[in-house]
Subunit: 422 residues, 2 copies
């Protein structure tokens, strides 16, 4: 069988896993899928570094041109990570007619239009299953299995680091800082954890998911984003007592023709399928008007799960007679500036007559209906008590206004956490 | 845009849902996917019956030839259900070069080889996403997303009726018969529930999943099958006390080059993702050497979820330049005659000195190691006590031998339930 010449951009943990997977499963793939590949060039920083791979002489190169411009190479796999120079290489390859398979959500989401237009002009394919949720085939599900649906919502646990941290905070009642430090020690969080814990990584992925769901362009910057750094063990515990599990959720929801796009700590009911997605696992929950609720669950990161997705894309790319680009218009997705959901509000309030009336009055003034209220424990040394409110569905702006309206002398330490999934 | 002429075999709830979905979403599908369809012929039993559909004159017919032999029709959707005459029509259509999209797991699994060979000889495509788990795109995931994996196990909750019954038995402690009667009243179980409650339906679907996972032919008859009719509330409850949830699981597992194929009531740990799949939902849990654990969850039945899968297949079929048939060899899958897993064994034993020693002795004689034992409650009027054993991994044959060896005068009412998922 004729082998399709391919090139790698990068050869760290993921690239090495792809190389090994192709080596190990190449003959099975040839039998079952009718395609075969030959890795012709691999771009690395240091060609002399040993990677424990069985790579023939002359394949490693430190010159990107040798990969991007090689006329024999028809498919390029990119797993350099980071925005640049990855995005540049990908765009040049696509323009030159080379199909690209990428795991790089950052480069893809920040350069979506340029990449798509480069692919169009070059007649190349762009495959990116591995860029969202590792081995979980949610990209292909959206593009090849849910096409008949009008999708109303996509909710995902799409960042493993934060899910690991929140899972341990839930199980152990431990504070954020301690669990983060542990995750860093274990290599589950970066030395600079910002991209994960502040929700940037989730926002990159959400922009990609939302474009496929709603067929319009979504810029990463248009996504409301709140990280997990302010989450306290007390919030986690109060939620548990109310039957709620805390997750960093990426949400894309359609209502009245507008799309809500947001990444924030979110309570989900314990019996919601997303609640049982623990530790480094990822899951995306999609609601379509025909399919109903559906969920895709699995390992969202790691060399082998990511390689599984990359090689599946590679096989699809290798077999394609004609590459299909995602059905996403360049026009911006119409964004919702406000949204409604249920809210969990915890606050410390002075334990005095009239205080509860004042708080309840502010909620009422903004039309926010309370579904349950708990006063937790005894008054503390400063004369405060903990109050926890669960609201019925309310507008975000209204809740913010109501909280502002409550005299800051009367209340302190307010947590406002959205509740989704019921 | 040129419309592809298609034909329906059947027009009950599912066919009507497909017709409506195409009517409602046709123009979106045209824009996003670049294909358009026209329903040219619909086979029904009674052409005069009103179905509340906006179907032009002359489309309904009671003559199967008019669908199967119409030279204009290139794709046929089949949702008649049942083995015959559906299988015959499908095979004739395929042989005649018409691509078939089917929701019929029974006809497909019982006539797999004939259908595949008919498709091969006719140069036609055969699409069957809707035949397993309704809207859950597990067929496409296996064939287009997990191709690089060596799959070691597939475990599924793939029958909604039994999952509904077991979910209610778990929640309410109700007996099987009462919940079944209720399910029948609600239309969630057939008047003759055999196909569901005895595991036949799950076996049809498991044979299809196993063929895709292991690339060899699996006959439905080769699957070990045990239904849920003997499940008691006491078993369900004892499991709950041990942190286990009871499910009817369809299992296909590879070990030592042999494949275990079985459908039976199964305990899974409460924190396993399959444990939280409740009521009429379906889920398939797949373990691959590269992707790791992954799960696909959603609505396994119902007109709209099934229509979602059928139309997604229809779109794929309409766009395909060349139809691809599943990579499954005609050769039989090498079957395991025995297997090992953990076991839950509950029995009533005479409350006398020496009885426990006898029971423990039989377990030991067959090399079965006990991980925990509970004596439940006081002795009853007949002088029996309830004993519950959880074993470590043990061979099925050994467990059966050990149970036989325990004197039937000494013990009575033995339940043996397999435990998977840890």
């Amino acid at each position: 069988m004729e082998r399709i010449a391919i090139g790698f951009l990068g050869c760290g943990n993921i690239g090495s896993a792809v190389y090994r997977l192709l080596e190990e499963r190449g003959s099975e793939i040839e039998i079952n899928e009718g395609v075969a590949f030959e890795v012709k060039k691999i771009l690395v920083r240091d060609v002399r570094r040993s990677r424990g791979l069985n790579v023939p002489e002359g394949v490693f190169t430190d010159d990107p041109q040798e990969v991007v411009n090689d006329p024999d190479i028809s498919i390029i796999l990119e797993f350099m990570g980071g925005e640049q120079p990855a995005a540049d290489y990908v765009i040049r390859a696509l323009r030159g007619g080379k199909t690209v398979v990428t795991a790089n959500k950052m480069a893809l989401s920040l350069h979506w239009k340029e990449m798509l237009s480069a692919a169009r002009s070059g007649g190349a394919g762009l495959y990116f299953e591995a860029s969202v949720c590792g081995a979980v085939p949610v990209i292909r599900a959206m593009s090849s299995s849910l096409q008949a649906n009008r999708i109303s919502s996509v909710m995902g646990i799409i960042n493993g680091t934060t899910n690991y941290i929140l899972s341990r905070m839930s199980r152990e009642g431990a504070p954020y800082d301690a669990v983060l430090a542990d995750a860093q020690r274990l290599g589950l969080a970066e030395p600079d954890p910002t991209a994960d814990v502040e929700g940037y990584d989730a926002a990159y992925k959400l922009s990609i998911l939302a474009m496929l769901a709603f067929h319009r362009y979504v810029s990463v910057g248009s996504i409301y984003r709140e990280g997990i750094t302010e989450v306290t063990p007390l919030d986690v515990q109060c939620g548990q007592e109310l039957g709620l599990t805390l997750k960093l959720l990426a949400v894309a929801k359609e209502s009245d023709g507008k799309i809500q796009l947001r990444v924030h700590p979110t309570f989900v009911p314990d019996d919601h399928p997303l609640a049982s997605v623990s530790d480094a696992f990822n899951a995306v929950y999609i609601d379509g008007h025909a399919c109903g609720e559906t969920m895709f669950y699995g390992r969202g990161a790691g060399p082998m799960p990511t390689a599984s997705a990359l090689v599946s894309d590679l096989i699809c790319a290798g077999k394609a007679k004609r590459h299909e680009l995602p059905a996403v218009e360049d026009e911006d997705c119409p964004l919702a500036k406000d949204w409604s959901c249920e809210y969990f509000v915890r606050m410390r309030a002075v334990d005095e007559p009239g205080v509860l009336a004042l708080i309840a009055g502010e909620f009422a003034r903004y039309g926010i209906s309370i579904s349950s209220m708990i006063q937790k424990g005894e008054r503390d040394e400063s004369g405060y008590v903990q109050l926890i409110f669960l609201t019925h569905k309310a507008r975000e702006h209204a809740v913010r206004q109501a909280l502002k309206g409550m005299d800051s002398a009367t209340i302190a330490g307010v947590s406002m956490i959205r509740v989704e999934g019921r």
